[in-house]
């Protein structure tokens, strides 16, 4: 069962290795040691937050400013964690803690699509998936920090930079089961792009998600007066 989790992690790992390397390179050019970069990938494990933090470190931002920015960037995980919560009932608290420590955009996308279609697999499979993903992230970081400025990375030449967007596309398409899901997705995409272009680089996902999901619920209420499942 653990092996199934590792196999299911492969698309995430394909994306995490090169992005982890890019993070490692950036961290070393920002002056972080290999150990610091690796520690960040082990204890924080949040791609966009880590990349933003090394940018801020390089520009000489204060610890408080960096922490505040990272918090804002990670607020979207509140929504992801909440939407997975109903599926996590059967697990013990330490399993929920361990699972949520490794909850990223990518593992969330994979888990939510799977839970919806196949139900909740045993914890060993969930943990193996998350752990394999984080292992790829940490290994990528170490490799990148070790290479440092010695080599210019060309992840683009293999199309690896498109692995994660392609994965998100697949998981989005798989979760559009009803016409209203498509409407919510289109609304969230338009809002996300709008808020992003307005310069809300830290909060565009949270804002777009809250508004689009709320519109979905309001639409259901008006259609049926009770909010039952009807397309």
């Amino acid at each position: 069962m653990a092996l199934v989790g590792v196999i299911r992690a492969v698309p995430i790992m394909l994306g995490y290795l090169p992005i982890g390397m890019a993070f490692g390179v950036l961290a070393s050019t920002a002056g972080l040691t290999l150990y610091s970069a690796a520690a960040m990938s082990v204890f924080v494990f949040a791609g966009s937050a880590q990349l933003i933090s090394v940018g801020l470190i390089a520009s000489g931002a204060t610890v408080a400013a960096i922490t505040g920015t990272v918090f804002l960037v990670n607020l979207r995980h509140l929504l992801m964690s909440a939407s997975l919560a109903p599926y996590l009932k059967k697990f013990k608290i330490w399993q929920q803690v361990l699972f949520s420590f490794e909850l990223t955009d990518e593992s969330f996308a994979v888990h939510s699509a799977y839970f919806r279609q196949h139900g909740v697999p045993p914890f060993s499979e969930l943990f193996a998936l998350n752990f394999a993903a984080q292992l790829a992230w940490v290994c990528g970081t170490i490799a990148g920090a070790w290479i440092g400025g010695r080599l210019t990375l060309q992840i683009e030449s293999y199309g690896l930079d498109f692995a994660l967007p392609a994965m998100f596309i697949a998981l989005l398409v798989m979760q559009i089961e009803l016409k209203k899901h498509l409407v919510i997705a289109l609304l969230a995409a338009a809002l996300g792009l709008f808020f992003y272009l307005l310069g809300m680089n830290q909060l565009y996902i949270v804002m777009a998600t809250i508004i689009a999901a709320t519109c979905g619920v309001v639409y259901d209420k008006r259609r049926s007066g009770g909010g039952s499942e009807n397309a």
Binding site: V63, L79, A82, P86, F101, F108, A188, A189
Partner: protein, 107 residues
């Protein structure tokens, strides 16, 4: 560098707390129906909001030029592949191969 250790600790804290609290507390009680429905719309909305800037404006502004924003053009066949194959691996592989091919052709 003690400051970096403090920074990593604080970053870990503000990352872990939003990930953990809802999973622990919301899984322990039965939620009202509208909230359950709302939460069921979150994955679709999050993924769409996450993808839109990456596909339409990867360098900060809306861009449909093939050379500077290949993401948008590769995304079209990738969406079609995802729709018909319903397979994560096939879709990811298609996206990577098309992106690599496109880059070797235009650069």
């Amino acid at each position: 560098m003690p400051e970096i250790a403090v920074l990593i600790f604080l970053m870990a804290l503000v990352t872990f707390i939003p990930r953990m609290l809802p999973a622990i507390f919301l899984s322990r009680r039965s939620l009202p129906a509208p909230l359950t429905l709302w939460l069921s719309y979150v994955p679709v909305a999050v993924l769409a909001a996450l993808l839109a800037p990456a596909l339409f404006a990867p360098s900060g502004g809306i861009d449909f030029t093939l050379q500077t924003n290949p993401n948008f053009w590769v995304a079209i066949p990738v969406f079609i592949t995802a729709y018909f194959s319903r397979n994560l691996f096939i879709t990811v592989l298609t996206g990577m191969i098309l992106m690599a091919l496109l880059r070797t052709m235009i650069f």
